[in-house]
């Protein structure tokens, strides 16, 4: 059986009831799972000897402005052994949005989660160092949310005075 079927079968076997959706658009496999099982799934995918998804490439989030489950966190993980990139998603419906951090499983997720906190306002529980990444520390908004205008809110960032 090929790689996709192998992954789907293994995941369904262990996490049958938490898996919400499995999709395959343009040849990319994507598994959506309930948000409290994300760490267990990550550990399983990393430590299983056939799969070995040891590299976490990216952690980000999508803001569906008008849906009830407003945010979805997206994880891209890669396995050197199978040479396959897998996408994991998990919907968040509480307000303010929180989810467990996966930086205990993959160390590289540290900075990606900081960037997601900065841009979307999703708090990662148990993160070792949750600070803003790009915007200055005192900034009050989260820029990539759909209710923040692209031109910014005037006065939210200070500018030095022009004095000749």
């Amino acid at each position: 059986m090929n790689t996709k079927e192998l992954i789907v079968e293994k995941v369904k076997e262990k996490f049958g009831e938490s898996v919400e959706e499995i999709s395959d658009f343009r040849d990319d496999l994507c598994i959506t799972i309930k948000k409290d099982q994300i760490i267990n799934l990550g550990k399983f995918l990393k430590e299983d000897l056939e799969l070995q998804f040891i590299m976490c490439k990216d952690v980000t989030a999508i803001d569906w402005a008008t849906r009830k489950k407003r945010f979805t966190t997206v994880y891209h993980i890669y396995s050197l052994q199978l040479n396959y990139t897998l996408r994991l998603k998990s919907n968040i419906d509480d307000d303010p949005p929180t989810i467990e951090t996966v930086s205990s499983v993959w160390k590289s997720a540290n900075w990606y989660e900081r960037e997601t906190w900065d841009m979307y306002g999703i708090k990662f529980v148990n993160h070792p160092d949750l600070r803003r990444m790009y915007m200055p520390e005192g900034f009050e908004y989260h820029p990539l949310k759909k209710d923040f205008p692209v031109l910014g809110i005037p006065g939210s960032l200070p500018l030095p005075n022009k004095a000749e």
Partner: protein, 416 residues
């Protein structure tokens, strides 16, 4: 010792120190120093701020701070159509610019289901490899300049100017070209450009030999780089480092081999790897990759077929200018594509290419309209900078400059 006696005998100074912060004299002389290697610095390759805690000359802890060049790419992408974003992708890795264009356009083509003709794919490969040579030349030149060999920057920029004039002839601009389009490339390359490329490659190989002779027999250069900033294989994978830094630590992962795009599966090239993982290995890695790129370019120039350079799909791909000006159908399609955008199907894709700095990936979420709902850029410099805290712990202060130079971050990409 005399200085300490002098301080002890100076009553006023002693009293001031003691009442200031309740310090004893031993505390003052043995405290650690917090130093700011600010955003504006000749050796930080752009606007990167490093806060270091030093114990004498040894670095105890280092914290990088980004965000000084955050221009809001991802937010802007949600408000403009796919084709309007192409000039923005140029400015991501601004040393090797054509690769970013190619990566973005390939991601959109994957999402929308368009395929570019064969000649366009070969042209894209040629300009990608030329950008890779240009970017590695900048990296090698500025790295050697940081370590002390200032002549290297002049020599590598002299070679890079030839690449710039080739791009000028092909695309009209020296480096931020926006040359690729969704469905192909903007215009064809003529025989004069191909002759210039062949001449450039012939002059590049002896120039590389000259540059190697300049620095590699220099005792100081080798001592400053050998054994510094060693990144072991498991740490490189765990921290998410990509590109030449990963290959210099022993992991043989190159997107052109793992998930071949364009026509890389028909070209014969090696992937150089080194196992030491120190700064010297990363320096050699980039030199070897330039040599491999020269081989790839010769093969592409041999194999390039004749044909169209833009796909024939009127609803999604812009047609030729002459037809837009003279025929009605094409005019209507042009109006729809420019104003409302191509409408790819609902869904999300991730596509990555091998940038000179590492793996550049685009994650596009589309809701069926002409503008993306979300565009995430997986930039290699952002991932490489995560390794700085681990690499610099325990190193000397002057090694920090060498390590950052060898990781080669580009802040336009890391800060998006």
């Amino acid at each position: 010792m005399d200085r300490i006696k002098q301080i002890y005998n100076d009553e006023k100074l002693l009293k001031k120190l003691q009442e200031d912060q309740n310090l004893t004299i031993e505390d003052v002389l043995e405290n650690e120093m917090v130093i700011n290697m600010g955003p504006q610095h000749p050796a930080t390759h752009g606007v990167l701020r490093l806060v270091l805690r030093l114990d004498g000359e040894t670095v105890v802890e280092i914290v990088p701070e980004l965000g000084y060049l955050h221009r809001g790419y991802e937010k802007m992408a949600e408000n403009m159509s796919y084709i309007e974003f192409i000039p923005h992708t140029d400015r991501l890795d601004y040393t090797g610019t054509m690769c970013n264009n190619v990566g973005y356009v390939l991601a959109v083509e994957k999402l929308a289901g368009i395929e570019a003709p064969k000649r366009a794919q070969y042209i894209r490969m040629i300009v990608s490899e030329l950008s890779r040579i240009a970017a590695h030349l900048v990296a090698i030149g500025t790295f050697a300049m940081d370590v002390g060999a200032v002549t290297m920057v002049m020599w590598t920029f002299r070679e890079r100017e030839k690449v710039n004039s080739i791009f000028d002839r092909i695309a009209g601009a020296r480096f931020t070209t926006s040359y690729t389009r969704i469905g192909g490339v903007a215009s064809d390359i003529d025989d004069r450009s191909i002759a210039e490329i062949v001449q450039f490659l012939a002059e590049l190989e002896p120039a590389l030999v000259e540059m190697d002779k300049l620095v590699l027999s220099n005792r100081i250069f080798i001592d400053r780089l050998e054994g510094i900033g060693i990144l072991p294989k498991e740490d490189a994978i765990a921290l998410g480092v990509t590109g030449p830094n990963l290959r210099a630590s022993g992991v043989e992962y190159d997107v052109r081999r793992a998930k071949p795009y364009l026509f890389y599966n028909e070209i014969d090239f090696k992937i150089p790897t080194f196992s030491q993982g120190d700064c010297l290995a990363r320096y050699f890695q980039r030199g070897d990759e330039v040599r491999e790129s020269i081989k790839i370019l010769y093969q592409c120039l041999d194999k390039i077929p004749q044909g169209e350079v833009i796909a024939n799909d009127p609803k999604k791909v812009l047609s030729h200018k002459t037809e837009i000006y003279s025929k009605m159908e094409e005019l209507i399609h042009d109006f729809m594509i420019i104003n409302f955008g191509i409408n790819p199907p609902v869904g999300d894709t991730y596509f990555s290419v091998e940038n000179p700095k590492g793996e550049l990936g685009f994650y596009i979420v589309s809701n069926g309209s002409g503008q993306p709902w979300k565009l995430k850029i997986h930039s290699p410099s952002f991932c490489n900078l995560q390794a700085v805290s681990q690499l610099c712990k325990g190193a000397m202060f002057s090694d920090v400059v060498a390590i950052i130079g060898s990781l080669d971050p580009v802040m336009g990409e890391a800060d998006k």
